[in-house]
């Protein structure tokens, strides 16, 4: 048996349509593993799958739930539990400095300004970027911005972390640093991670891998086997 996280994500009879075009169709899917990777060609439905989990995309038909909570009926609660990091770091930060951006995340949960500040500082410190706290966000490198984006999400102590091609726009050193931090903190806080990626080495480190192609899960299971299937299907 694979080790389980404490969270269960369930898809039931899910279909997502854009107009008449079918973006994703999943009849049955249960996700419980700590580390899950999602691979497949561009436009195949990886992002849609991830965004279904925190209710950013609502299923046209069927249901998605996180720990029994429906992502449509309890959208806000689900989004608090499931944090999301996008591939474009710049679009995720809105405040002038990293510290203020993390504080913005905490606005709802911590009313007290000084508590908010120290919690935000802790969150940056945990990712090893405390020295960036007061710098101007727009002057940070993409790698640093992506770590700040991660901090804004982890500050809310999610139980699930959805990562949509988080290292695509980063150089090798920053990509490795990012995945190491995710790995370390997910382990430490028992966070389930679902990572959509084109980096097959990264995908191989998961406990379970899904291959999404043309809006369907075409392979699911052991990473090695699923990646082999993907390589075979993609051979030109």
């Amino acid at each position: 048996m694979m080790p389980s996280a404490s969270v269960e994500i369930a898809f039931r009879d899910v279909r997502v349509l854009a107009g008449t075009r079918l973006l994703l169709s999943i009849a049955q899917l249960q996700l419980t593993q700590r580390r899950i990777s999602v691979i497949g060609p561009n436009g195949g439905g990886k992002s849609t799958l991830l965004q279904l989990v925190n209710g950013l995309v609502e299923p046209t038909e069927g249901y998605v739930s996180v720990d029994g909570q429906d992502t449509v009926d309890h959208g806000r609660a689900v989004r608090q539990q499931a944090g999301f990091v996008f591939s474009n770091p710049a679009a995720q930060l809105v405040m002038p400095t990293p510290l203020e951006d993390v504080e913005l995340s905490l606005r709802r949960t911590l009313r007290e300004t000084s508590q908010r500040r120290s919690a935000a500082m802790r969150s940056l410190d945990e990712l090893g970027i405390a020295e960036l706290a007061e710098r101007s966000s727009q002057e940070l490198s993409s790698g640093q911005q992506q770590l700040v984006a991660l901090a804004t999400v982890l500050a809310l102590k999610p139980s699930v972390l959805l990562l949509d091609e988080p290292t695509t726009l980063l150089d090798l050193v920053n990509a490795q640093r990012f995945t190491q931090q995710v790995e370390k903190l997910a382990q430490l806080h028992g966070i389930m991670t679902i990572t959509a990626t084109h980096d097959l080495d990264l995908a191989a480190q998961a406990e379970r891998t899904l291959l999404i192609h043309d809006g369907e899960v075409v392979a699911d299971g052991d990473p090695e086997a699923v990646i082999t299937t993907y390589r075979r299907r993609s051979a030109v």
């Binding site: 925190n54 989004r79 996008f86 474009n88 809105v94 995340s105 606005r107």
Partner: protein, 188 residues
């Protein structure tokens, strides 16, 4: 000056602007300009940074001057232009000595009464913050668009230079909205 509360600075600017506009007297305007320059000197702001405004706005100012000369006599024209320039100088001083995010804070306080009408000032403040953040991004993509157009030999083609910029802006806006939504943030 940099450390003065931003709310006070905005209030003083409003009062000075009102005084200049109501007085309609070039002497008052000249006095305010001297005052602005003195304040800038005390705050250790090079006067050049204030005057750079003239270079940026020279076209608008020239058109105004010509219109005034056609429609009014030179005396009135001078008086109108001097008022406009004075107000702009005072506003420029405020911008040079205040962090944009502080101005957004002032905006939120000014808008606070709107809460009674069911409008949330925090939302307007968030929109203002996003706008401020987007300016460098848009400037970058404008630059990039120009380079891409040049690479294709289309530097004189208005469409090749503007369409990618517009599409990029819409895309950036959607990504920003999605990221804020994921974080559950709808006000600042």
């Amino acid at each position: 000056m940099h450390r003065a509360p931003s709310g006070v600075k905005v209030l003083v600017l409003a009062l000075v602007t009102a005084a200049v506009l109501i007085a309609r007297d070039p002497l008052v305007s000249a006095g305010v300009v001297v005052l602005v320059f003195c304040t800038a000197l005390v705050a250790r702001i090079p006067l050049l940074m204030l005057l750079v405004l003239l270079r940026r706005l020279w076209l608008v100012l020239a058109v105004l001057a010509i219109l005034q000369l056609i429609l009014n006599d030179p005396a009135t024209g001078t008086e109108v232009l001097s008022r406009i320039l004075t107000c702009l100088m005072a506003a420029q001083l405020l911008l040079l000595t205040t962090a944009p995010v502080e101005l957004v804070g002032v905006l939120r306080r000014i808008l606070a009464p709107l809460r009674l009408l069911g409008i949330r000032p925090g939302r307007i403040a968030l929109a203002a913050l996003i706008m401020l953040r987007s300016i460098p991004y848009l400037a970058d993509s404008f630059h990039l668009g120009a380079q891409q157009a040049r690479a294709r030999g289309l530097e004189r083609d208005l469409r090749a230079r503007t369409v990618p910029l517009l599409l990029g802006a819409v895309d950036h806006a959607r990504n920003t909205g999605r990221a804020l939504n994921a974080r559950g943030i709808d006000e600042a």
